[in-house]
């Protein structure tokens, strides 16, 4: 047990988590945008799963560090929650990649590519926001980042609505197909929701420390 604040280590790990989350989100977007053969999609999903695994390891490092540290730079519970929710975003990215394989998706829809793009943008904003944790005096900028992450979640809701309208418009559509796509859209949207959860925790931190 070291008694000095390990501020640098904590913020470093959270930033790594945010970076790996962004990496995973970009890989999903690339996979959807340049949709290849079933083998290519399978390979991409395996690579995203490896990224997710790296993310898990980082999350465990944060928990271990929490257990070894007496004075933490932010409330323990907030660091713990932040780690869990950062991990959740990546989990949903990983889940969607796996569903593409499970459901033998042949061609992604425009809206599913669009939502994956929104998750990339949210992940970029999250990385910026997590970097701002080192200096909470710049609370205004952090609040702005959070507002952007939330706005992107609203955008995703709108795309999701358009996607569902398209999906249910065509009366001859195969119901099994509808089930698959509805599921993929919902999991993508849950990813954007978890990003919003990250923003909410960052706001909570600001509320306490500013």
């Amino acid at each position: 047990m070291r008694w000095i604040p390990r501020k640098v280590e904590f913020f470093g790990l959270l930033e790594q988590q945010a970076e790996i989350g962004l990496k995973g989100a970009r890989m999903l977007q690339d996979c959807l945008q340049e949709f290849g053969s079933p083998e290519a999609v399978y390979l991409a999903s395996k690579q995203i799963h490896d990224i997710e695994h790296t993310g898990d390891d980082l999350a465990h490092k944060v928990v271990d560090l929490l257990n070894k540290t007496f004075i933490t730079p932010l409330d323990r519970e907030d660091i713990h929650q932040l780690t869990i929710k950062l991990d959740d975003v990546l989990d949903f990215v990983d889940l969607v990649a796996k569903r593409l394989v499970t459901y033998r998706i042949e061609k992604p829809t425009a809206q599913c590519i669009e939502i994956s793009r929104i998750i990339v943008r949210q992940s970029e904003e999250i990385l910026e926001a997590v970097k701002l944790l080192r200096d909470l005096k710049r609370g205004d900028r952090l609040l702005q980042q959070c507002a952007r992450i939330n706005q992107l979640e609203n955008d995703a809701d709108q795309v999701m609505r358009d996607a569902l309208t398209d999906l249910f418009k065509d009366h001859d559509r195969d119901p099994i197909d509808v089930i698959k796509w509805k599921d993929i859209y919902e999991h993508l949207e849950e990813g954007t929701d978890k990003a919003e959860d990250v923003a909410n925790i960052l706001e909570t931190v600001l509320v306490k420390y500013s």
Copy 2:
């Protein structure tokens, strides 16, 4: 930064949030009960969305006030959580109204009207409960309110179960229709779950302050 407790402002804003939530819930119930033409339903969904927007603004005001206030009448985190969950109930009310449009629903089922009524009743109990926050010495009454909100969530579960039994009973039912209604029921039920979350937070507050 003002250093005096802004008790009045906080409780006022939370009550406004509870009031706007009740308003939105009533509009959804009205929309379902007096189900009109597609245009009428579209218009109602737009009006509910405006209400949801007003709710968002109130939630942001609470967060802003938290950031400007040194001594809060309840724990910062509890106020923050309460604001988020109050907003969540209204979000699901808004989501269901939008789904009615997206899915081109032609006629609401008895059970969907029934669950919307339950959300109205929960919202009424929530408003009463939030008003009781001003005087935590009346903890017994607040606990009663929470018990009622939870009981209503149980009632909604039962209605949901009856609704699903009906939905899957008819073997000739169009699967697309089943997908739509299952989705609407689930979102209505999530609304009642979020109301239960509000009750859980209020219980937490009582646990701390009584």
Copy 3:
């Protein structure tokens, strides 16, 4: 209001909650494994519901005790959260049992039996973990338990994926059947997620007290 720590009572109630949770999980597994007539399944679902009711009563006792106790053996919020999440696992077990009746399921799949087994194993680990709360100096063992609960959740994800692959493989499958099974799998998986939430809270407790 008694001013002495009621450590024994709190830990006793939480253990009872964990025990009743395990009992419910085992009843669901038995029901699925020795799947009987519709009447037998209905009866089993009623018995599981009674168990769930007993679980609710225990959860209320914890909240009541929190309200009557000045000094709690762990943070009030953590005890409250633990009680809620322990109850959530049992709620999903109960929900799945009810869905078997609602959907008139005739024969359970191998994977649904498998996930119910995983919930039993998680519940066993949870009971062990809750027992360890009495002596937080054995933090290493508690962390091990949490790691096992999380690993079991990962296992359930894999089984769920195999189940979905099977479900969507057969092109002639009745879409209504697909909807039913997808729903049951998802609720089983949510049960394992709630067990993971329990592990996360236990980790949080360790993070604070060790």
